[in-house]
């Protein structure tokens, strides 16, 4: 995939594969192109050339909302909640395209995953703390019944105890059969839970491997893990 902001190339021929049922971590320095890559996959970022296939089906021509219907759900950087809307409304809107009868049950499951959200279900999202907003953003995405969940820096700006909670949730999502593409500044933690990892640098993939293997690779350690 290749993508640009105006004349600035942000992705220069990136190629990656996210196997079904796995957690794939994408790590790299600030401005490397991680967010751009997720935006291209979810269809909110125009891209210049390339192909995106979901289980073999080409989706690069589909509008963003059509991709959500196919099961690609993106939790964007910086949480991005609907300030004046309640938690309950967020979860209902996460299931906007669904017509099945499982919505109430899924809402109960999200509340079970994040009990804090149940306590404050009527509260406007704008009044929540950063951690609660992150849980809400993930909960809203889960209501779309994702096959592939794109998470952009879910631990950013959270207290350490909340960071642990979020990583724990990501592992549980994997157990529930959801494929996850995880972008993280916190590269060590991300690679530690990942089946597979990619390291991106100025729009190019520079390392690929099993999560553990990348953690132990001296070249990756020196440049990206600050070890």
């Amino acid at each position: 995939m290749t993508s640009a902001y105006g004349r600035i190339l942000a992705l220069r021929g990136v190629s990656l594969h996210v196997p079904r049922g796995e957690i794939v971590a994408l790590v790299g320095a600030n401005g490397a192109g991680k967010t751009t890559l997720l935006r291209v996959i979810s269809g909110v970022q125009p891209f210049l050339a390339g192909h995106i296939r979901l289980a073999g089906e080409p989706i690069e021509r589909l509008a963003a909302h059509r991709r959500v219907a196919k099961g690609i759900v993106h939790v964007p950087e910086g949480r991005q909640v609907f300030g004046p809307l309640s938690i309950e409304d967020h979860l209902r809107l996460g299931a906007y395209l669904r017509r099945d009868a499982g919505i109430a049950g899924d809402m109960a499951r999200v509340y079970a995953l994040f009990p804090r959200l149940r306590e404050r279900r009527g509260a406007a999202a704008g009044t929540l703390s950063g951690g609660e907003q992150q849980m809400l953003a993930i909960g809203r995405a889960l209501m779309g019944r994702p096959k592939l969940l794109l998470l952009d820096e879910p631990s950013m700006g959270l207290a350490p105890v909340l960071v642990d909670e979020i990583f724990d949730v990501i592992l549980r999502l994997k157990t529930a059969g959801i494929t996850v593409l995880l972008v993280e500044q916190n590269a060590v933690a991300a690679l530690a839970i990942a089946d597979r990892g990619y390291v991106i640098e100025t729009g190019r993939i520079v390392h690929v491997g099993a999560g553990r293997a990348l953690l132990e690779d001296p070249a990756v350690q020196a440049s990206y893990l600050g070890l």
């Binding site: 959500v68 939790v75 300030g83 809307l85 395209l97 704008g126 953003a137 995405a141 779309g144």
Partner: protein
């Protein structure tokens, strides 16, 4: 006292129309942040299309419904042909586009209809109703009732339907709305159609009282804008409050001072609000934590 009541009646009647125009501004502004100065043309179209169909011996209720549909379609076309292609333009550029569109619609109306003033028959007769020494036209009751019904309808739509919530989500955060699977372009289109329909209803309700013509929309857009600014742009309740207050201010200004200044009051309101109360009466809700 009777005189005071009389001014209240006429102020609330025109005020209801300003409120509906301001609500049209609000509906579009909330979904897309566009300030649509072609809002007055929807009001004009409501009146003029009904007049034209009535002249072609279509019964009034059918003509009215058809006029609402025409205005909604014009709203859709405005979005698809003028606003959507300019996506990403600055707010000022978008305002200029809507002003251009309003001039265009007016021009077409002048050709399709004519340059005369037109009246619609009052829905339930012209016999004034006496109340505490003042009189009120049955048509005024239609205006008040119609405006009330639309306000309640819009409220129910935005609070109690999934599409209404999707519109609120689109207004709050367009990116997040797209990522939730909401077709935000369709939502904004819908808001233009809805604003067209609301404007047209206002035009149909008020034409039996005030007459209409191809350029009746210009002044109404300005007054609706003033009402919206007064109430706080983007606040449905503010739009209603601002509209009613502006109508009352005009009626009392015309009654107790001089009717020569009536149309100037809206401009004074715009100036005062801009200078002293830029967020309007209901202010900006600050539930957002950044």
């Amino acid at each position: 006292m009777a005189e005071f009541l009389q001014f209240c009646f006429s102020g609330l009647t025109v005020g209801s129309v300003y409120a509906l125009v301001a609500l049209g501004f609000t509906v579009i502004y909330n979904a897309s942040n566009v300030v649509n100065f072609a809002q007055g043309e929807f009001v004009m179209l409501g009146g003029m299309v009904t007049v034209a169909l009535l002249a072609a011996s279509v019964p009034l209720p059918v003509a009215g419904v058809a006029a609402v549909f025409v205005a909604a379609l014009v709203g859709l076309a405005l979005h698809r042909l003028a606003i959507e292609p300019a996506r990403g333009s600055s707010p000022v550029e978008l305002i200029i586009i809507t002003i251009g569109a309003s001039i265009f619609i007016r021009g077409v109306a002048q050709v399709v209809f004519d340059k005369q003033f037109h009246k619609l028959p009052a829905f339930s007769g012209d016999a004034p109703i006496h109340m505490l020494g003042a009189t009120i036209l049955p048509q005024s009751l239609w205006v008040l009732g119609g405006a009330g019904a639309i306000v309640i309808g819009l409220h129910l739509f935005s609070e109690h339907t999934l599409v209404g919530k999707a519109a609120a989500a689109t207004a709050a955060n367009r990116l997040a709305a797209r990522l939730a699977g909401i077709d935000t372009t369709a939502i904004v289109s819908l808001s233009f159609a809805l604003a067209g329909a609301v404007g047209a209803v206002a035009g149909i309700l008020i034409t039996p009282i005030t007459l209409t013509s191809y350029n009746a929309g210009t002044l109404l857009a300005l007054k609706g804008f003033a009402a919206g600014m007064l109430g706080g742009m983007g606040k449905p309740l503010g739009a209603v409050l601002g509209g009613l207050l502006l109508g009352l201010a005009e009626a009392f200004g015309a009654g107790y001072v001089s009717s020569a200044y009536k149309d100037g009051i809206a401009f004074i309101v715009i100036l005062v609000v801009l200078l002293s109360l830029p967020q309007g009466l209901l202010g900006k809700h600050s539930a957002e934590r950044v």
